[in-house]
């Protein structure tokens, strides 16, 4: 009887999500554009949320330092990015003419080094602190991770200062994609063009019912790279020996040890994957928001937790789903749909959704029940 009732709640939530999407698509001005932006932000949040949910599931604690590992990686990447932008033309004189190519190459290198930096710091923290607390109560680990969050934030401030910083990538003109009856001849057209055509279209010539979505190259790369990484992670968890062992550890750590699985090695893998993806998310946040500050990580952490709880804490696929929902809701609700909401309140939207979810279905959309009291 009870499980049936809960299922109704679950389907009701799915219903709300679908209705929200339809509303956004058809009743909000420029809705499709905002939904696409939402998917893009959601895919960034996914990268961050996966690490959070994996450490929760395997090490059994909410890691409050995850946001600051993310921003640490982003800052390491920042330094490498500017250094490479200076160095690459010197190493390869042929690149001196191609400024855009240099900046792209630099950001790719920066992303890799940033991810390595985040992985190293995560492994170091685990070695120094968390590994000694494995048998402590979860809450002790949470205090320790809260402390480490502030430590990392202070470290970032000490090294890079408190101000806004940006990557070397230049803002690039977006390409626009228009769909609908653009010529007014009763036929469906698909149109891809550059920015100046868009301006013409947006001015007078844009017919009723046409949908226009603009994306810059950076935004395309964000979307494609994030979704590719998430897909790769799916295959990793599903088909590799380490990935399977990771799921086994998440199911039952004691049994995994009895079976002969080297738990510590798998835990190190978990940290590495979580921190590496988080650092890449941090770089994408910097590229898409334009700036990063030492506090960005803490601010994003709230949305990450909301995503994780929405999908069901501990489930990697739940985290992906939750991130997508949060990303779309944040982009759709803030400016376009309800103009009264200040865009500063994006984290508040995520938080409100999380509280509602905790009230009606604490185990999230894909999670298992874990209710007390």
């Amino acid at each position: 009887m009870r499980s049936q009732r809960v299922d109704i709640v679950k389907w009701a939530i799915w219903g709300v999500i679908v209705l929200g999407l339809l509303w956004g698509l058809f009743f909000v001005k420029n809705g499709p554009q905002f939904i696409v932006s939402g998917i893009r932000f959601g895919s960034i949040l996914m990268l961050g949320a996966i690490g959070l949910t994996l450490t929760y599931r395997i090490l059994n604690f909410a890691n409050f330092s995850h946001g600051d590992i993310l921003i640490f990686g982003a800052y390491v990447a920042l330094t490498v990015d500017w250094w490479l932008v200076g160095q690459l033309p010197e190493w390869f004189p042929r690149l001196a003419e191609a400024d855009t190519a240099v900046r792209w190459l630099a950001i790719v290198g920066a992303m890799i080094v940033g991810a390595i930096g985040a992985i190293l710091i995560a492994l170091l923290i685990d070695k120094l602190i968390y590994s000694r607390l494995r048998r402590s109560a979860a809450v002790v680990l949470v205090i320790a991770s809260f402390g480490m969050a502030l430590f990392l934030r202070a470290l970032v401030q000490a090294i890079w200062g408190v101000g806004n910083q940006a990557y070397a990538m230049r803002t690039q003109l977006p390409t626009f994609y228009a769909f609908g009856d653009l010529n007014g001849d009763g036929r469906f057209d698909v149109f891809v063009g550059a920015m100046k055509d868009l301006l013409a279209l947006a001015g007078t010539a844009r017919p009723e019912g046409a949908v226009v979505i603009t994306m810059t190259p950076v935004q395309w790369v964000t979307l494609i790279v994030s979704l590719t990484l998430v897909t790769l992670l799916h295959f990793f968890l599903k088909y590799t020996k380490t990935g399977k062992a990771m799921r086994a550890l998440a199911d039952n750590m004691d049994l995994a040890r009895v079976t002969g699985i080297n738990a510590e090695r798998i835990i190190r893998w978990t940290w590495a994957i979580g921190a590496g993806l988080a650092a890449i998310a941090g770089v994408f946040i910097g590229l898409n928001w334009g700036i990063i500050t030492p506090n960005t990580g803490a601010l994003v952490l709230l949305s990450l937790f909301a995503a994780v709880i929405l999908g069901g804490i501990g489930s990697p696929y739940g985290a992906m789903l939750g991130a997508l929902v949060i990303g779309i809701a944040q982009n759709l609700l803030v400016a376009p749909a309800i103009p009264q909401i200040n865009s500063q309140y994006k984290p508040a939207i995520a938080f409100a959704m999380m509280i509602v979810m905790l009230l009606i279905r604490p185990q999230g959309l894909l999670g298992e029940a874990e209710r007390k009291g």
Binding site: K244, L255, R257, V258, T259, G260
Partner: protein, 234 residues
């Protein structure tokens, strides 16, 4: 020849001792049953052998080698596998993945080993790609034992393999245990179903309040009037 030998082991949780100087021996090719009332320390002894608990005193040897303070993953490498009583499968992994985890320490193609396990437990092959969490109790027990067989162990430690199973399934599980034993695996098992366990066991030990009380061949214990009165329900 003595394969696994427990001498004078004292162990317990926190500051409380459960085992007080227990001894036990498992010889090559034997089935040995550990029986006794609840709280006698049977499962504790098994956990101590497997390195999940650190004994306060005494020694445990395997083929004459001291393994008293080894960690579980080292003990697995020696060829001793352990099947816990409850929560003994990974519920979100498929049957096949569960079996693969059993041979985690090997870096080789596992299809041959999996095939051999399926020969012992043909039921499992049907559920090949099903999540272990959706299996029935008997199937889970078979899966857990199958996972332990993946390493071709020399010794199998079974903690109450028949717990919570219907009588028909209990019989099936016991048959399987004998089958496994016939392939050359020595088996040490803790059992609540004392009568049935002693019938198939070569030898048995009766523990009570953490001490050895009786020992002998399965038949001797079954026919011992005192054991019968105290532990076999008359």
């Amino acid at each position: 020849m003595s394969l696994l030998k427990v001498e004078n082991v004292t162990a317990g949780y926190g500051e409380m001792d459960i085992l007080h100087g227990v001894h036990m021996e498992l010889r090559e090719g034997e089935i040995v049953a550990l029986i006794g009332p609840n709280g006698a320390g049977k499962s504790t002894l098994m956990k101590t052998i497997f390195g999940l608990l650190r004994p306060r005193a005494g020694t445990i040897t395997f083929r004459g080698q001291d393994i008293t303070r080894r960690a579980p993953d080292q003990i697995v490498r020696l060829g001793i596998c352990y099947v816990p009583q409850t929560d003994n499968v990974f519920p979100s992994l498929t049957v096949k993945e569960n079996l693969e985890m059993g041979a985690f320490i090997l870096n080789e193609d596992l299809s041959g080993r999996i095939e051999r396990v399926y020969q012992v437990f043909p039921d499992l092959e049907r559920f090949h790609n099903k999540k272990a969490g959706s299996l029935s109790g008997g199937q889970r027990q078979m899966l857990a034992m199958g996972r332990a067989l993946m390493l071709d162990p020399q010794v199998l430690l079974l903690d109450e393999p028949s717990a919570g199973l219907a009588p028909k399934l209990v019989e099936l599980i016991f048959e399987k245990i004998v089958d496994i034993n016939e392939t050359g695996v020595s088996i040490l098992m803790v059992e609540q179903n004392a009568k049935q366990a002693l019938k198939m066991a070569d030898r048995g030990y009766v523990l009570a309040t953490g001490r050895n009380r009786f020992e002998g061949t399965g038949e001797e214990l079954l026919n011992d009037p005192q054991v019968a009165k105290l532990y076999l329900g008359g």
